[in-house]
């Protein structure tokens, strides 16, 4: 497949505006500025583009809600708070292809009549901050950002806003709170950000990868774009694979590539002569799958049918040497640390689950612990403001569902039976 999102990243100067333009960059922006905003939204609709942050929400629908709100100014926020453990798919765009994102944002800004944009960048990417700031300056100097872009009378101002190490800020309303200078705690919805978002104005939050699809959609047209991937989930997808595979890394493949093919064909299979045990297919919040359940199409529609989710497309591969109790415990430590503390089921539940897993791992588990964890998880799911609590609970439920004997062995033997 022709690379769209990771095009030219092998070029050591790919982040420079001149190299980007030499490869045809910013031609889509010129084309888009000659189109009516509604025409661009139509193309995105035809493309069938879904948000790449994890939820897979249809972009044209979100855009139509925001575009229809009579309040101005409108804000376009790029979610570059890539924090879902296992995820490093946006980093190559931010560091190697920043102008693709900027071009995508200016096109989207025009479509949405949004005149102000911010890239909410996670604090853990200091290099990306430097590169983005440089790219934004180049774009201003080339009149591709500012109050009269390419002399067409269209305005779009763009700046980077750096987060400070809070996973929850990847949730769009927490991101908005954080951009406003507050603690990153999710807001209750409604009102939705498309009507009342940052600074109380209509706000569109889209992921880095989502916005980076725009130049190609404008260049090739929505219909051509929709031919990539699967009919109900079109387009290219960046998968990032880590753990026990021969060739971990980022791979741009059609949406709907089979999970087993990603691992065995593209990544060269399991490292060394070990056996595959389990895969977390879409970042740590998505349900774990055992080795015999990987014949599934990696897209937003099909993964739930196989008992998991596409999430961010962050595939963590674990071989037979990995203890599932230990992984589950580490995951819950993460959720406890990152729970924002606003709502009780998540704040308390993540801590309780972590504590039970900790004692099981330390050989102090008791017979009722597995059922106790399932009871706690059941009291969290669907009872929290945002999906963090759901994610934490479902991690526990799914590790127990697929690997219950391993938890039972730990409790009975009072030690890890996998690593000894």
């Amino acid at each position: 497949m022709e690379k769209i999102l990771l095009k030219n990243i092998e070029n050591p100067n790919s982040a420079d505006i001149n190299e980007y333009r030499k490869a045809g960059g910013y031609a889509s922006l010129e084309k888009a500025l000659g189109m009516e905003p509604q025409q661009i939204i139509e193309e995105v609709k035809k493309a069938g583009l879904r948000g790449r942050g994890g939820a897979g929400f249809p972009v044209a629908m979100k855009w139509t809600f925001a575009s229809g709100d009579p309040k101005f100014p409108k804000y376009l926020l790029c979610n570059a708070d890539e924090g879902e453990p296992g995820t490093f798919k946006d980093r190559p765009i931010l560091e190697k292809n920043p102008h693709l994102l900027i071009e995508g944002m200016v096109i989207s800004g025009h479509a949405l009549k949004a005149e102000y944009g911010y890239i909410y960048l996670r604090g853990e990417y200091p290099e990306a901050k430097h590169i983005l700031n440089k790219a934004i300056k180049q774009a201003y100097d080339a009149n591709l950002l500012g109050d009269n872009i390419l002399g067409k009378g269209i305005k779009f101002e763009l700046a980077v806003h750096q987060g400070a190490g809070a996973y929850i800020c990847g949730e769009e309303t927490a991101l908005i709170e954080s951009l406003e200078g507050d603690k990153g705690q999710p807001r209750i919805k409604p009102p939705f950000p498309v009507n009342v978002g940052v600074f109380s104005k209509p706000t569109i939050v889209n992921n880095v990868e989502t916005l980076s699809n725009l130049p190609y959609i404008i260049e090739a047209g929505g219909e051509a774009y929709a031919k990539i991937g699967t009919p109900d989930c079109p387009g290219p997808k960046i998968f990032c694979i880590s753990g026990h595979v021969e060739k971990p890394g980022v791979y741009e493949l059609p949406m709907g590539t089979m999970l087993c093919d990603i691992i065995f064909k593209h990544c060269g299979g399991i490292k060394g002569s070990k056996k595959l045990k389990a895969v977390i297919p879409g970042g740590i919040s998505t349900p774990v799958l055992p080795a015999d359940k990987l014949e599934c199409s990696m897209d937003f529609v099909n993964m739930p049918k196989h008992g998991s989710m596409l999430g961010s497309g962050a595939v963590i591969v674990m071989d037979e040497t990995v203890c599932m109790v230990k992984v589950c415990h580490r995951a819950l430590k993460f959720f406890e640390h990152e729970s924002c503390g606003k709502c009780t089921p998540c704040r308390e539940g993540t801590g309780w689950l972590r504590a039970i897993l900790e004692r099981i791992e330390n050989g102090k588990g008791t017979d009722g612990d597995i059922d106790l964890m399932l009871a706690v998880a059941g009291n969290m799911i669907g009872k929290t403001f945002c999906p963090l609590g759901d994610g934490a609970a479902s991690v526990v439920q799914n590790f127990i569902k697929h690997f219950r004997p391993e938890f039972e062995d730990h409790i009975r033997e009072k030690k890890c039976t996998v690593t000894g």
Binding site: E82, G83, E84, P85, G86, T87, F88, R91, R122, G123, E124, Y125, P126, E127, A159, H161, Q162, G163, A164, G165, A166, Y167, S178, L179, E180, G181, D182, K183, G184, F199, C240, I241, S242, G243, H244, P248, G249, V250, I280, I284, A314, I316, M318, V322, K326, V327, R330, A331, F334, H337, E338, C340
Partner: protein, 154 residues
């Protein structure tokens, strides 16, 4: 007290937002750089410059993991131990740092050279285990190459 450069920098940052409050996160980064950590003096100065209540500034500063509300070593090691790094040996690296430099997670080495913070995924999972030292990424870490990498941070 802030240097004049820092005050100008905060004013420049302020211009990117429709109100002063929104400049709080970036201003805290400037303060952290100036003072080495967010001491009460540091965040009170930020509160005065931006006209935001001190209690609010403190609340925000303590919410986010990357703002340091206690003194730090000369170099900050931010080592990831989340799942992708853990299954490739990150915990051994924590032990190595403890044994070699006497630095515990959340602590400072006795000579003040290193602070160690355990991170929740730094987006380098394909080249795990990984860490940030100050602003530099270091990936594919082993007990063998870790000491050599840290050699240049004095």
């Amino acid at each position: 007290m802030f240097s004049e450069t820092a005050i100008n920098e905060i004013q420049e940052i302020r211009a990117k937002y429709p109100n002063s409050r929104a400049a709080l996160l970036p201003a805290l980064y400037v303060a952290q750089r100036e003072f080495g950590w967010l001491s009460p003096e540091a965040y009170e100065t930020v509160a005065d410059i931006l006209g935001v209540p001190k209690a609010t500034v403190r609340g925000v500063a303590t919410f986010y993991a990357m703002y340091k509300v206690k003194p730090m070593g000369r170099n900050l090691i931010q080592l990831c131990t989340n799942v992708a790094c853990m299954i490739l040996g990150a915990e051994k690296l924590v032990d190595f740092l403890k044994n070699r430099y006497g630095v515990e997670p959340g602590g400072i080495s006795p000579d003040g050279r290193f602070s160690l913070v355990i991170m929740e995924c730094i987006g380098a999972c394909g080249t795990a285990p990984a860490m940030l030292v100050n602003d530099d990424f270091h990936e594919n870490l082993t007990e063998e190459n870790l000491a050599a990498i840290l050699e240049k941070y004095k």
